[in-house]
Every structure is written in C-alpha cells, then in structure tokens.
Amino acid sequence: MLNCLFPFTRSGAFLLVCATLLASVFSTHGETTAFENGVAAYEARDFAGAAKFFEADINRAPSAEAWRNLGNAEWQGEHPGLAVLAWERALWINPSDADAAASLRYARQTAQLAELPLRWWETFSVWLPPNAWAGLGAASFWLTVLLVLVLPVILGWRKSAWTQSLAAVAFGVFLLTLAGAAGVHSRTAIGVVLWPATPLRQTPTHHAQILTQLAAGEMVRCRNIHGNYYLLRTSTGDWGWVEKKQLQLISRPE
C-alpha cells in the first residue's frame, strides 16, 4: 500500500530532489535576461543601455559579475567614478575577480588615481569575501564551543586527542577571523568619489572654502557624517567635507 503511494526508493527520492534543484537552477538561469540583455547591449556599444540592464540585474540579484560588467559599461560611458565604484563592489563580493581587479588597475593608471593604502588587517580581510569572515568566525567559534563544552561536558563524551586538536585549530581560526572581521568593518568606511572635480570643503556647508578637488574614482575614508556631508580623509591624508551625493560607500548602496 505504501509502495503504491510512494513508489520511490531512497535513491529514487534522492534523484528526484537533485532534479528539482537542477530545475530551480535552470529556472534561475532563465531569469537572467537582464544580465544577458546588458551583455548584448554592451557588445552593440549601447553602454548607457547596458548599464541600465546591469543595474536592473543587480537590483534583482546582486552579483560580482553584474557589478563588474556595470563598471565596464560606466567606464565606456565616461563615468569613471561610477565605474570604479562598480568594480570595487565586484571585488567586495568576490575578491578573487581578476578581471575587476585588472580593470581597476587600468582605470587608476589611466585617470592618475592614487590607491588608498590599506592597513594590514584590511589587506588580510581582502583574502575572503566579507560574509565569509563572519560565517567562518561564527562556525569556528561554535565548533570550539561544541568541542570544548557541549561534547565533553553536556553530552559526556570522553576527551580525546583529536577533539582537543580540532578545538585548538578551530579556536585559532576564530582568532584569525577576528582580524579579518575587523578589516571588513573598517573597509566599510571606504567610499568612492563619483563626480569629477568634487570639491573637498573646509566645513560642511555649500559655500565653504574648497581645500582641493577630488577626481572621480578617488578612494577616501569616511570618518563622520554631518547633515548632507561626509567628513573624510583622502589617500593623500587631506581632511575635508564632501557632499553625500558626490560620494558612495562601497558597502552601502544608496
């Protein structure tokens, strides 16, 4: 009777689950028309149209590749600030995106943009995507707790060499992730200047004295917010205020 109702063996059920997952993957792939339209528009040299398609794709499901392509389209459309921002975001999601990194290097060389010096923990945090640090940190912490507290104390397992070794390794990994998480945290204050010749002002007012002008695509560290202005420090160490609309943080899409 049961066999009639559920005519699948365990392996059959497994195959059914796999097929469902594959179907969902393919159905997702079928929805990436905005991305494909963007690629087509880019190849047809309609860069403004391509940028719109990639933006639509990012709004639906942000991906490193969409950001990278958006950067290329913005660069071709002569928007260096938006291009640098998009490439930085592509690298933020996928730090090993060699094409985005190459585009950034090229753009900085072409537009004579200085790279923002990173502190060692920030450089360390670039090794993995930002969310990986949080996930790895949480996983290693709870694994340590499991091995040190839950198994021997609560569940009464006998302590063994392998559990202790694994706990030590997990705790070590957790400590390393603290540095990575700190790097991610401080990198969230990094932003990109969007407009060409953006004035760096002495005070957070529209008529304040202009200390210098920042080029589109220049990377800065934001330190404070006052009204519609960010207090920031440039890669050359200059301090000043920039209007919010002229700048975007890499990790905070407006």
Binding site: A64, A102, L149, F171
Partner: protein, 602 residues
Amino acid sequence: MTSKRLLPMATSFLLLAVTAFAGPGTNAPLDPVMQQLLRQAAVESDVVADAGFDPLVAAVGEPVMYRVVVTAEPDAVDLPERFPSPQELELQKGGVGSSFVSKGQASQYLATFNYRVVTRGTGTFTIDAFTATVDGQLITVPARTLTVVAPASPEARHPATLQIEIPEEVFYVGQAIPIDIVALDPGDNSIFGLVEPKAVGDAFLFDKVPGSQRRELREAHGQPISAQIEKVIATPIHEGRLTLKAQAFVERRTTTDPQTILLRGYRPFLEAEPVKIVVEHLPGGALPGFTGLIGQFESASPAPAAREVHAGDPLDLAVVVHGKGNLARLIPPPIVSAPGWRVVPASRDAAASTGQNGSNIFHYTLIPLTPGMTPTPKIPFSYFDPQQNRYVDLTVASASILVLPPVDARSLSLGTNGVNVAVAALSGVHTEGLGKLARRPAHFAGSLVPEQQRGAFWLIQVFAGLVLAASYFMHRRRCFLAGHPEIVRLAKARRELRQRDRQRRRAASDRDVVAFARAAVASLRAACAPHLQANSEALVCDDVLRVFPAAEREGKTGVLVRQLFFFADEMAFKNKLPNPETLWSLQPELEKLLADLRSRPC
C-alpha cells in the same frame, strides 16, 4: 593534548598571522631620493653624539629635560630603551626633532631626542656614558650629571619651556583661531629666537603669520621673564574636543659649560603641553551669501574700475572686506542674479591678508550687455560673528554704471575656467586594459552590507548562545536531580496530588461516589508518598497511617483514613458502593487533612 594547551596554540596561530601581514611596508615610505640624500649627508659627516640636562641644577620635583643629540637623521639612530641612570631619576620619552645645520659647504642632520626627567631625591646624579647605533655604527653618548637640590633653593634653575596660548572660548568649525607659541626663557635671558615654530593637531589647518615673531615679558615662576612669541592661525575643520600641540627650536646663547650640549649649530628642541579646545559646528540659519567667513567685519563696498564702460567691454568690480577673522581663506560670494550683465566668477587678490586682521579684495569681471545706466548687481554676502553668535548681513550694494554703445559689434565669447583634470585624462575612452566582460553571473550576494553589520547575524548568535546556555543549565539540573532523588519524588508526588485534587473535586461536583472515593484514597497516597520516600501506588492504609503521629493515628485522622480505604477496598473487592451520605460527610475533613499534609515538611 590537554585543554590547557588550547589557548597557547591558538595564540600562536594569531601571532603567525600578525607577523605574516605586519611587514615593514605598513608605514608610508619616504621619497627615495630624499632618503638617499639624507643618508648621504649622514654618511659624509662624522657622526657624533652629545647629551645634556636642562637645567643643570634643578629643584626636586621641578621639570627637567634630558636631550640626546646625534648628527644623523632620526630614523637612522637607534638609542637604547633604558639609559644607565640612577633610580632617583625617571626618564620618560618625549618627542624627536630634526634640523639641518650647515657645515661648510655641506649640510648636516641634527636629531634631538627629548626625555622628561622626574627627580625623586636631592643629590648629584649621573647618566653614565652609553652607546647608540647609527646605521650600524656604534657611537658613544657622553655621561652627564644633574644636580638636584631642595625646593626653593636659590641655585635651582628652570628649563626653557614652550607653551601654547589660546583664547578661552568656544570656537567654530572654519574659524581662524590665533595661537601664540611662546618660548619662555629660563630666567637668564639666554633665549633670543624661535626657529620653525609649528602647531600640530589633527583636523586643523595651520597658517603661519609672517613677521609675527616678537619678544614680550611674561610672568613665570613668580617673576617677569622674557618670552619669544610667534603667532600661528589654526582653522579647525571638525567639531568636538580637539587637541593642539606645538613644538619649536629655540636660538639660545651658547655656553662653555662642558656639561651642556656643545655641538655646532645645536638648538634646543622644545615641546609644549597639549591644549584642548572645544569646537562646534556653526548654527543653522545662515544668511544668503555666507561662504564661511567668520569673525568681525566692516561693510564691504564695491569699487568699480570705471563709471563708464562700453557694452561688451569687461568692467572690473573690486570688493574690499576689512575686519578680523579668517580673511586668508575668504571665498568670494557668487553673484546669483545680474540682469544686464554677464559675470565671470570672482578671484581673490593675490596680496590678501594672511593674518587675522586686515583686508581682502576680490574682483568680479562684469560685462554689460546693453547700453544705458545700469546698476551693478547686488551681491549677497554675510559672515558669522562668533562673539554675537549670529550671522551678520554684509550685502555688497550696487553701483550705477553708464553703459555706452558697443565699440565693436563682435560678441565676446568667454571660456569657462576650471578644467577637470580627470575628465581631460579620460577624453577619448581607453578600453584596451579593461577586464573581460562576464557572460554569466556566478558569485551572488544578498547585500553589500557585511553579515557582521546586520542585526539578524547577531540575533542568530545570541539565540545559539541562549540554546547553549539552556542546554548547559538543563544538564546541571539533571546532574543535580540524579544526586537528589527525593526532590524528583516530591515533585512527582505534588504533580500527582494536583491531578488527584482535580479528579476529586470533579467527582464531588458530579456527586460521583465511586470516583470520589478512588480519588480521595489516591490523594492520600500521593500526599503521603514524599514523607515515606516511596512511590504512591505502593502505599496501603497502614503505610499512610505511619505518616501521622500516634495520637492522630488513633484519633479522628486515623478513623477518616481507615474509612476511606475501607470504602475503596469494598468497591474494589466486593463491588459494593459506599454510603453517599457518609462519604460526602467526610469531604471537609479530608480536604483539611490533605492541606495539613501539604504543609508538613518531608
């Protein structure tokens, strides 16, 4: 491996990571050409070192400076962490100053390392000679002696000191703050000049005031002493409680005392104690034409270069602003509306005032478009007065200009200023170095905001922590109950008693004799079980009676218990129902007895 080894092992992982990533490249490198020049200068000159106390004789507890001077660049000098000093002298590291002195046709670096000395007793104390390393070369710093005398001794001297003098008030972001950097003479009129005085502080812009150095008398140590003063203008660019520091070299009369520093060209390096000031943002409600001018200013009047001009010819309109404030950073206000004129944005006069007092001129170029009497546009302009804590209107009035017909009908075409370097660099888009276009998205992210900055992440961690804590406390409770079975039995009995109470009351309200009798007996068993350390189901009438003292057992309580068990037994074994009236009459006494049993300690 024991659990004690966990932490050291994990710490070693972290240290490995730190040493792997904290390399020598973490500091910004110096310009290589400059570095080479400086090193060359150090190598070519003979490296010598000297040291000295300032003053040579000091009262105990009074400030004393110990300076080590080396003819090399500061980065090349490696001084020992601890000097061979007696216990009565405590040395605290101060700042490092460096300067160039000319030595014939060449220049020589002079690095000064300051140490504050805390004296703890009177006597004569010597810091013995010690060796320092300069670019791998060992040099000897000579021994120096300090004499410490009792307080208020006439032979005690004071060191030369530097201090910051700043008005005591609340400042505003963008305000020009006059700062006096004051070098106080030790009392022997030996200081006669300030060299390279410098104010230091984060979130400040500093402007020197050329020619502001002066000599004045100041009250110090209870007597008037001469002071060398130089003015600096500090402009805060950030609100909050900000710290200002100052440092300077001083020109000091040379002595021949062998205990002093006798290097050629040596100037003592002084540091001032940090000063904190409060800086606030400007209040809202700025008037039109406010461009960040803060201070006290007189009315700005227009000064056109001519009263008659041909249409199409440029007319220079100068506006002079007099007053006290941040004139050096004055921004000309934009002309918003100029009917009949074309306006070229204003420029500042190159010879503008660099100090706090004086005047500044800015020039507008106006081009009249049509002939006739035409007033120059009114220019909205205002400033903020920190003393009155309000904005003051300084609108530039218009001046009447007679515009004559154009001499030449050619129209002027004016270019715009402000060429954008970045855009110019990008003119003609280069694409050959761009990364490849992605064909398919592969690395998705729900959001750019990292997980660690989202509330849900921390909620999950807190939830997991709570589950863990709950598991741990449940485990502790389980272990405790395993060692105290009487608590388990008592809890079980109480639970059962509550259940029987409900059954008994329901039976009483339904007037169900059988159910009431059974529930009554079960209630008695459950109430007595914890007193006997037994399970309630195993108790018989005699067991229940054992709970009570002999007097009660033989009295009314014993009768009640026996009667209830009797009814229950008759029902169970003879299938005979109890007399309802007798049974219901027992109910009040039964309830009282059960309440009594509940209140008895086990």
